[in-house]
């Protein structure tokens, strides 16, 4: 049973089409992340699901009920905003109770629900405070609590961690994941532009660009088998290496580029092999150096340009043929700029894209 289902959704502001014929099915209890750069329509889609924006065409179902024309309060959703959006003149308790009072929930029921939410989120000592007396992390917890007390099936998060500092963000991220596990059968839809948040939290990620979904898959697939060049470039930090070249398919498929010929025998093609121009994507951490590289089907020597130590590992910048090439080695490396090093990679872990359509081959 789908918890949230979006069919042929269109949204346009005047002549600008923000969402184009969008279809999306989200399972009950799923944690779905909408990921994309700013302006891709991810927040707009969330606002449509919440009922804060009227759609131009299409339908939205929540828990198998057509809610396309329903008011936000009748959709069975709770929403958490980036700026927390706590009512400044009310205490934390007042903030939590506001929605319930509007829904005319009996007083003792409100009290029990607030107590339960406060326990889950560890905000019991803060209940009598005003939002201005809370830290960023506490405020966001209260905002989550406001969605929690409503006892809804679907949680909508609009970049909830973007206003927090890096350390707090990591902490709250884990807490969110724990909360999702704790609240079984609660669907969460989470909008972010931070790929780490997306990869760590999601059951499935929907990567969006210009109002349409590019790929909808679990984080592992998104990372290892990106469906097109955009997804490959968007996911991964440091980003994927892209090598221009062409595929030739005489006896066995090979990839010709300026730094040599790469045997594609081990590569799993998504489509029948066609000769032609293509782009090979290699993740920086799939590159081996030294003795390990010698054992791989493709290896070559490169000169190190820049060394970027990052603590746990080190990023090395070089050029491979005509293209810039980055690879990752352990943090304890003693490689220095100017040195020559042997690198190699296995095409099985790489991704091939058509030069024209930019789709995965």
């Amino acid at each position: 049973m789908a918890s949230v289902s979006i069919r042929n959704l269109d949204l346009s502001f005047g002549s600008v089409n923000v969402l184009k014929n969008l279809d999306l099915d989200i399972e009950k209890g799923e944690f779905l992340v909408l990921l994309g750069s700013s302006g891709c329509g991810k927040s707009t889609l969330l606002n449509c699901i919440a009922g804060l924006l009227d759609v131009s065409a299409g339908q939205i179902f929540i828990s198998d009920k057509n809610v396309t024309w329903e008011e936000p309060k009748d959709r069975g959703i709770g929403m958490v905003f980036q700026s927390y959006a706590l009512y400044p003149q009310m205490s934390v308790e007042g903030n939590l109770a506001f929605g319930l009072k509007n829904a005319k929930v009996p007083k003792d029921e409100i009290a029990t629900r607030i107590k339960r939410a406060a326990e889950v989120l560890h905000i019991e000592p803060l209940l009598q405070r005003k939002p201005s007396q809370l830290s960023g992390g506490q405020r966001q917890r209260v905002a989550i609590g406001r969605a929690l007390v409503r006892d809804v099936d679907v949680f909508l998060f609009d970049e909830p961690l973007s206003n927090l500092d890096a350390k707090l963000r990591a902490e709250l991220r884990v807490e969110l994941k724990r909360l999702h596990r704790q609240l079984e059968n609660t669907t969460m839809i989470y909008v972010t532009h931070d790929q780490i948040e997306a990869l760590t939290l999601a059951d499935r990620i929907a990567i969006m660009k210009e109002g349409s979904i590019q790929q909808l898959a679990d984080p592992h697939t998104i990372y290892n088998k990106p469906t097109n060049l955009f997804v490959a470039g968007f996911i991964g930090s440091p980003s994927i290496n892209l090598i221009d070249g062409s595929i030739e398919n005489d006896k066995a498929p090979v990839f010709n580029c300026s730094s040599g010929t790469i045997n594609l025998k081990s590569y799993e093609f998504a489509a029948p092999v066609n000769a032609g121009k293509a782009v090979l994507g290699v993740r920086p951490e799939h590159v081996a150096t030294g003795a390990a590289a010698r054992a791989l089907s493709f290896n070559t020597e490169v000169v190190i340009d820049v060394v970027e130590p990052m603590g746990s590992d080190t990023l090395i910048w070089t050029t491979l043929g005509a293209d810039e090439f980055r690879f990752r080695v352990g943090g304890q490396t003693n490689l220095a700029p100017g040195e020559t090093v042997l690198i190699g990679f296995d095409p099985a872990a790489a991704s091939l894209f058509d030069h024209e359509t930019e789709l995965r081959l």
Binding site: N47, L52, E71, S83, G99, R146
Partner: protein, 313 residues
């Protein structure tokens, strides 16, 4: 950098303080009686005196008896302080047939100002809220037309409104004037409120909608409690504006409900008998006292409200 102490100090910088070398250190010294300061404060002083002098003359004159006024030394302080002119201005001065002073006009003005302020602010704040948060088809056009109203000179609309009020039977009544004031306050107040509500975070409004609050629920329980500064600004604008109004007061009311400003004019400009400058001065100060008090009491809030749009908190 050939100085050996300096280079060694640089090398030791990571370990401890190398100590100060001679030369500028800490805050830059400033001279209190610099040419700049003398010029600046001198100018401010002269301008302040220039503006305060008329007020001084008024206060001084109002405290003199008529024989002293006739001497003509308008700057000299009163030899014999008397509050007689103030009492006379408040409760004895004659306008037309009535000789009960300005007190009648004062209470008329109160009865005009209070409902006008409440009515205009209530309507304008709801207007602004609807225009800022509940955009409807044509809301921008509506707003532009409303703002355009602020640029039409009042004189153009005087007579049409006379006819309008006559037709609905409110001409010459207190409520007619209240309605006129409310209408003319609408453009600027709506603009004020709309801009303020637009500056509030939109997500608050969205959160309240998800929480199930409707049009009025969001207005009364979310927006109004957050908008005290702008309500104070609106009140100050309206109280001073309506209190100081002369034109509408004289056009749309009858003598027994003339506002204070109109009555003041009638007292000061009465042509019979002696010109009692001291009474006139006292009457003028009395009339101007209300806006003055409003400014003094709420000055701080006023500034905060004006600045509120710029600073998000």
């Amino acid at each position: 950098m050939s100085d050996p102490t300096l280079s060694s100090a640089g090398a030791a910088a990571t370990v401890g303080s190398p100590g100060l070398v001679s030369g500028p250190a800490g805050p830059r010294p400033r001279r209190r009686f610099s040419r700049r300061n003398i010029f600046l404060y001198g100018t401010l002083f002269v301008i302040a005196v220039y503006y305060l002098l008329p007020l001084y003359v008024m206060v001084v004159t109002s405290l003199k008896g008529m024989p002293e006024v006739r001497l003509g030394n308008i700057f000299s302080p009163p030899v014999e302080i008397t509050f007689e002119p103030w009492v006379k201005a408040w409760s004895e001065a004659c306008t037309g047939l009535n000789c009960d002073g300005l007190s009648r006009g004062f209470w008329n003005s109160v009865r005009i100002t209070v409902p006008s302020v409440i009515l205009s602010i209530a309507i304008a704040s709801i207007n602004g809220y609807a225009l800022a948060n509940w955009r409807f088809k044509g809301s921008e056009t509506f707003f532009v037309i409303l703002i355009f109203g602020a640029f039409i000179p009042y004189q153009v609309m005087l007579y049409p409104i006379v006819i309008l009020l006559r037709e609905i039977g409110l001409y010459g009544t207190l409520w007619g004037l209240v309605i006129v004031h409310s209408i003319f306050g609408m453009p600027i107040l709506t603009l004020l409120f709309r801009n303020y509500f637009t500056s509030l975070p939109e997500e608050l409004f969205k959160a309240a909608r998800v929480d199930g609050a409707g049009f009025w629920g969001i207005y009364f329980r979310i927006m109004v409690p957050m908008s005290l500064p702008i309500f104070v600004v609106a009140m100050i604008l309206q109280i001073t504006g309506i209190w100081n109004d002369f034109l509408f007061g004289v056009v749309y009311t009858k003598p027994d409900i003339y506002p204070m400003t109109v009555q003041l004019n009638n007292i000061v400009n009465s042509v019979q008998g002696v010109k009692e400058y001291n009474v006139n001065m006292a009457a003028t100060i009395l009339t101007g006292l209300v806006p003055l008090v409003v400014y003094f009491v709420s000055g701080k809030l006023f500034v905060r409200g004006i600045a509120a749009g710029a600073v998000k908190g």
